[in-house]
């Protein structure tokens, strides 16, 4: 780059796709954990496959995401300094603690879910029906401890999903990222958008992992509600910031990726699915997940390319 005549602009994209994917995976992890833990806590005879899928997906997603984050550091091997040098005024510093605790809880939860599955099946296979009662009591015991982990984990999952929005919205010098809720100057917009998207994509990914199983109608209905809320939020965003953010190369990403693939198509498919096919999961859920990734990329890039 010609520093005298080339306006001296370095690459304006400081946080690239690695960070976008990290934010996306953190959302998936949070949403998947919430799907599993809330099923576990609130649904009697909660669907084991959904719980298992979400419980296993959450730690995998967050650990891969953190891996990308660390890889993106200028000094990856010094990542531990983030834990020992704390700045309470920095959203990222607070986020480090939220995500670390969430990661531990999600691993613990996955372990508890995994062992209870093993205990259940082993006892049944070996001893047959006679031992079913003991197995049931044992399982109930784990559910007690597991309930606490599920509950605490759910709180930190909420924190993790919301944090990904706060991370960007806290950059007050970035006009796009720090957009406020219309009319309410003190409340940033992105945490809401990212939370809803996290719930939606995490739920979708969990259902994909659960595969076609029993009746998933409840989950699909929740997903429809989430998609509708997200459509409203995206519309609000579109109406409240300058049009330039949706222009150029990002126009396709926004209209095709975020709006069509991520919102409109899955909404239509889900409405159709709920009314006709109980187990039609794959197409709609995959689209939601792809749309969630498109949303993170769009927001991360739009904030940096246009200022």
């Amino acid at each position: 780059m010609d520093i005298t005549w080339g306006a001296g602009a370095a690459n304006p994209v400081i946080w690239g796709w690695l960070i976008a994917v990290y934010l996306f995976l953190a959302g998936i992890a949070g949403g998947a954990f919430l799907t599993a833990s809330l099923t576990d806590l609130f649904k009697k005879n909660g669907q084991a496959r959904v719980i298992r899928s979400g419980a296993f997906l959450a730690p995998v997603a967050i650990i891969v995401g953190l891996g990308l984050l660390v890889f993106d550091l200028g000094r990856p091997l010094s990542f531990w300094k983030l834990i020992f040098n704390v700045n309470f005024g920095s959203v990222m510093s607070i986020g480090v603690f939220i995500i670390s605790i969430f990661t531990v809880l999600s691993l613990l939860y996955a372990y508890l879910v995994w062992t209870s599955v093993k205990v259940g099946s082993k006892v049944q296979v070996r001893v047959g029906r006679a031992a079913n009662e003991t197995a049931a009591t044992k399982a109930a015991g784990t559910v007690g401890g597991r309930g606490i982990v599920a509950f605490l984990g759910a709180l930190f999952a909420l924190g993790t999903a919301t944090y990904t929005g706060f991370l960007l919205s806290a950059v007050s010098t970035n006009v796009f990222w720090s957009t406020h809720l219309p009319g309410i100057a003190g409340v940033p917009f992105l945490p809401f958008l990212f939370l809803v998207s996290a719930l939606s994509t995490g739920l979708a990914a969990t259902l994909l992992g659960a595969g076609t199983c029993d009746d998933l109608t409840v989950y699909k209905k929740i997903d429809i509600v989430l998609i509708v809320i997200e459509i409203l939020l995206v519309a609000v965003l579109y109406a409240s910031v300058r049009a330039v953010f949706f222009s150029g190369n990002l126009a396709a990403l926004f209209w095709l990726g975020v709006v069509m693939i991520g919102l409109i198509l899955p909404l239509l498919l889900s409405l159709y699915g709920v009314s006709r096919h109980k187990n039609l999961v794959l197409p709609s859920c995959s689209l939601v997940v792809i749309g969630g990734l498109a949303l993170r990329c769009f927001v991360v890039y739009a904030g940096q390319l246009f200022k």
């Binding site: 602009a9 370095a10 304006p12 200028g74 983030l82 990222m92």
Partner: protein
């Protein structure tokens, strides 16, 4: 009274020779392809007979309300005892959060260290020895003034008292310590 180091840039005196760009590279061993300061051409703009072009020296603006310090998760970016924004490279992990927050594109990840880097007003190498920054002493056009703005007798304080200067991107409320006099170029 505490010091408040400040720089005043008189744009009409800058020839765009890039002597400051080079001096800074000498002084601070800035890696190839990276810059703590540069003076890009702004323009040319307008139509004949009102065509204008000028050079705007850009570097860290030494904000007094620095967004980079606020967001830094490790406290690597901090205010030193003289109120300057500096980076403790031992603490920096290279997360680039500060770079996303700096509205002046003043920062970069040093290729050699992997940590954030930017103009220091030559604090360690020159200010502490009572010398002015390398770019200031090198400036061919005499466009750069430097000193303690809290000392009414200093060159910068006297200049600012008698001239209209501006800070860049005032809308972000960063309260920069680098002041620009656009008189004669804008």
């Amino acid at each position: 009274m505490a010091k408040h180091y400040a720089m005043v840039i008189q744009l009409k005196k800058c020839l765009g020779c890039q002597a400051c760009t080079v001096a800074c590279k000498f002084e601070n061993k800035v890696p190839d392809g990276q810059y703590r300061t540069k003076s890009p051409a702004i323009g040319p703009s307008g139509t004949y007979p009102n065509v204008k072009v000028f050079f705007e020296k850009q570097a860290c603006q030494m904000c007094q309300d620095a967004p980079c310090v606020k967001v830094c998760p490790t406290t690597a970016s901090h205010y030193n005892k003289d109120g300057l924004v500096l980076i403790d490279s031992h603490k920096c992990v290279g997360c680039k959060y500060c770079m996303t927050a700096c509205p002046y594109d003043a920062r970069f990840i040093n290729k050699n260290t992997g940590t954030a880097d930017k103009c220091t007003f030559c604090y360690d190498t020159r200010l502490t020895k009572g010398e002015k920054p390398a770019c200031v002493t090198t400036c061919v056009g005499g466009a750069l003034l430097f000193g303690d703005a809290n000392d009414p007798q200093s060159e910068v304080a006297r200049y600012m008292a008698t001239h209209r200067t501006e800070v860049r991107k005032a809308q972000f409320g960063t309260r920069p310590s680098v002041h620009y006099d656009y008189e004669g170029v804008k």
